[in-house]
């Protein structure tokens, strides 16, 4: 299903169709005056990469950094509130640039999913523990809980919700839906 020749060969050459598609898609949200240029530039850079190298997440950067390229006209100069030279760290302790490429990469900035892990998930966990309404099964929230048959000594319509364990009796089941929430 490819129109390009390097699929599966592991050799550098024309990029796979999906790599081209990703690059073309990544360039779509860019400002119109820059879109064509960067699309051509990214596509040109795919040539010469092996398919496995092009598939590496680090080369999917255009997707992750669209906001940076999107602000070409307004970004990049020193802002009075930050980003001055004095805030930078020296680079002399790093290996020479060409040698750095051959060494395992040291990640300068944590990936976004790590940021999400450290920020969003604890919040969601806290919300889960606090008994937020979203933790209640949806059938219980809409008043039609999945009842398991319980002991019915006098053929009463009682039961126990299989999700939240709430005991129900005849009066509760006959009450309006708004009062039957778990």
């Amino acid at each position: 299903m490819t129109a390009l020749g390097s699929r599966g060969t592991g050799q550098a050459g024309r990029p796979t169709w999906w790599a081209s598609l990703v690059v073309r898609t990544a360039a779509l949200p860019l400002p119109a005056e820059h879109r064509w240029r960067y699309r051509q530039e990214f596509l040109a850079e795919l040539y010469g990469m092996t398919p496995s190298r092009a598939a590496a997440p680090r080369h999917w950067g255009p997707l992750a950094r669209l906001d940076s390229l999107d602000g070409l006209d307004r970004a990049g100069t020193a802002h009075p509130r930050g980003g001055h030279d004095d805030q930078a760290l020296p680079v002399s302790h790093r290996p020479p640039p060409l040698a750095a490429a051959a060494q395992p990469r040291r990640r300068l900035v944590p990936r976004m999913h790590r940021l999400r892990t450290t920020t969003v998930r604890p919040w969601r966990r806290r919300r889960h523990r606090s008994g937020h309404t979203m933790t209640t099964p949806w059938r219980c929230r809409i008043g039609t809980p999945p009842l398991a048959p319980a002991a019915q000594p006098r053929r009463r319509l009682n039961g126990e919700c299989r999700r939240c364990g709430t005991q129900r009796d005849e009066d509760m089941l006959s009450s309006p839906p708004s009062s039957r929430l778990c």
Partner: protein, 110 residues
């Protein structure tokens, strides 16, 4: 409001400048710069765009016949003479002023 003509000297910016300063006379394209700096293309290209915006870099399309070469033309970047001097000064300044005293090696003057 007048725009300041100094790019933010972040660590990736310094790495890109370092890669370009390795051989200032040589033109590099995005993947080469990224490989030299150890940065992904998604980081390199916004930095290159900023440096080009402030006039430190020039870029041009490679002058080839795509059919003969079998690939599209690349875009090559090179430091301008002014950008070369400013980049060297900025890197030197970042090197000397960035580290707090407790991070500097013993015996190094501020």
């Amino acid at each position: 409001m007048e725009q300041q003509r100094t790019p933010r000297m972040t660590i990736p910016t310094q790495l890109v400048l370092h890669a370009l300063l390795t051989d200032p006379a040589k033109e590099l394209y995005g993947v080469e710069i990224g490989a030299a700096a150890g940065l992904p293309s998604g980081t390199v290209h916004p930095i290159l765009a900023r440096l080009e915006t402030v006039g430190w870099l020039t870029s041009r399309w490679e002058d080839i016949d795509p059919r003969a070469e079998g690939r599209p033309a690349r875009r090559y970047y090179q430091l301008t003479p002014n950008g070369l001097a400013l980049a060297r000064a900025a890197l030197a300044r970042a090197h000397t002023t960035a580290r707090p005293a407790w991070l500097r090696p013993l015996g190094e003057e501020s």
